[in-house]
C-alpha cells in the first residue's frame, strides 16, 4: 500500500508531479494498459475510473482528455486485442499451406494472444457493457475469427489434410479450448505462453489430422511468427 509514496509506479508516463510532456498517444496507451489490467483483475464493474486514474498518478477527469467514457476505454482495450488476432489471420491467409497447416498456425497465434492482457479482453469482457454501435463491431470481428477457424477446417477437408467432420462443432471445440486459456492463464504461472501454444496446436488437431503417410507433422508449423514492422494502430476509427 503506497499511494502517495515515491515508488516509480510501474509504467506510468506521469511522474508524480514533474516532467509531463510525453506524446499524447503514449499516454492514451498507458491508460489502456492500466485499464485492461485492472478490468482483468477486478472486473469491469469492480473497477472505477478513480481506481484507474489513481494507478496513473492522475485524477479521474484527466482521463476524459483521452476517452469519452468508461465504455470507450473498454472498447479500445478490446479492439487492440482483436486487431492483433486479425493481423494474424491476414498473415496466415497471405501465406499458403494446407488447411491443417493454416489451422495450426491460427491455433498457435490465438493461444499466444490469450496469454496477453489485450488478448484476454477478447473473451473476458462482456459485450453488453458496450454501446450498441461498438457491440456491432465486436460481434462482426468475432464472427470473422470464428469464420477463419471454419474456413481452415473446411479447406483442410477439401485438400485432404483433415478428415471429414462437423465443421461448425469442431471450430467451436477448438475455439473453446483456446478461449479458456484466457480464463486460467496467469502471467506468473508455471506454463510458458509458447509452450501452451505448441501443445494446443498438437492436441487440438491430432484428432482431426489425417496422417499424411509420409511424416507425422511438419516441424515448420511451429516457426516463430516473425513480426512485421509493428504496424501502427489505425487511430480510433469508430468508437462511439
Amino acid at each position: 500500500m503506497d499511494g502517495s509514496a515515491s515508488s516509480p509506479t510501474g509504467q506510468s508516463p506521469w511522474m508524480p508531479f514533474e516532467s509531463r510532456r510525453r506524446a499524447r498517444d503514449e499516454k492514451r496507451e498507458a491508460v489502456l494498459r492500466t485499464a485492461v489490467a485492472l478490468f482483468l483483475e477486478q472486473g469491469y464493474h469492480g473497477t472505477t475510473l478513480n481506481h484507474v486514474a489513481e494507478r496513473l498518478n492522475i485524477t479521474k477527469p484527466a482521463l476524459y482528455n483521452y476517452f469519452r467514457g468508461k465504455d470507450e476505454i473498454l472498447y479500445e482495450c478490446w479492439a487492440i486485442g482483436a486487431e492483433r488476432v486479425d493481423e494474424s489471420i491476414d498473415e496466415i491467409d497471405a501465406t499458403g499451406g494446407t488447411g491443417i497447416e493454416k489451422l495450426r498456425k491460427l491455433i498457435v497465434s490465438y493461444a499466444e494472444a490469450m496469454t496477453t492482457d489485450y488478448g484476454k479482453s477478447l473473451v473476458r469482457f462482456d459485450i453488453r457493457d458496450l454501446t450498441e454501435h461498438n457491440r456491432r463491431i465486436v460481434r462482426l470481428a468475432k464472427k470473422k475469427i470464428d469464420q477463419a477457424f471454419r474456413d481452415y477446417i473446411g479447406q483442410g477437408i477439401e485438400d485432404g489434410s483433415i478428415r471429414a467432420c462437423n465443421v461448425k462443432l469442431s471450430a467451436f471445440a477448438i475455439a473453446g479450448s483456446l478461449n479458456w486459456i484466457g480464463h486460467w492463464h496467469q502471467p506468473n504461472g508455471a506454463l510458458e505462453a509458447e509452450a501452451i501454444a505448441r501443445e494446443f496446436a498438437i492436441r487440438l488437431t491430432e484428432g482431426l489430422a489425417i496422417p499424411s503417410a509420409r511424416k507425422s507433422m511438419p516441424k515448420s508449423t511451429t516457426k516463430k511468427a516473425g513480426k512485421p514492422p509493428v504496424r501502427k494502430r489505425k487511430s480510433t476509427g469508430g468508437s462511439r
Copy 2:
C-alpha cells in the same frame, strides 16, 4: 412488452393480483429461475432486482422474503448448477469403467449441463460478484470438477485406455471446449443438447484414446444417464 397484460408470464407462481398461496420453496425456485434467465440475458450488473421482481408480478422488497440480497441469489443460481455436475461426478465415480469411459461420461454430462441455464451460470457468472465466503465455496467446487477431469485422464493413462499426455493441459483443453458451450449455446438453436454432448464426447477424446485393437468404441458409452429419484437440494447450506 406486456407488463400489466393478463398473459400468464411463463412460470411465475404469483398470479397478477390474486390467488397466491403456493409453497415457499416453489416461490424460491421461481425467483431463481427468473433470475438466472435474466442474468444470462442481460448480465448480472445489467439486471436489477426490480427487473427480476417485475417478471414475477411482485415488487422488489418481496424478494427479500426469500433471499438476503442480490449476491445471494447469484450464488444460489450457481450452486444449483454446481450441484448437478457434482452429482454426475459422484455417479461416475460410483460406477466402474476405464479411464476413458469415465472421461466420456463426464464430458457428456458436463456438456448437457452447459445447455441449461443453471449450468451456464457456472461459466458465465463472475466469481467476484460473490461474498468472500461464497467465493471460497465456488473455487473449491470448481477445483473438484477440474480434478475429476484430471483424475479420469490420469486413470486412463494408467489403465492403458488413454495414451500418455500432459494431464493438466489436456484437462484444460477439454474443459475449455465444454465451458465454451455455455457461451454459444442457445435454447432455440439448431444444435440439440444431446447431439452436442455426443459429438463432443467423441471429438474431444479421439486424440487421446488408444484404439483398443478390438472395436473402435463401445457404444454403451453414450447411454442415457438414467436419472435417480431427483434428489432434493440440501436447503441453502452456507450462503452468507
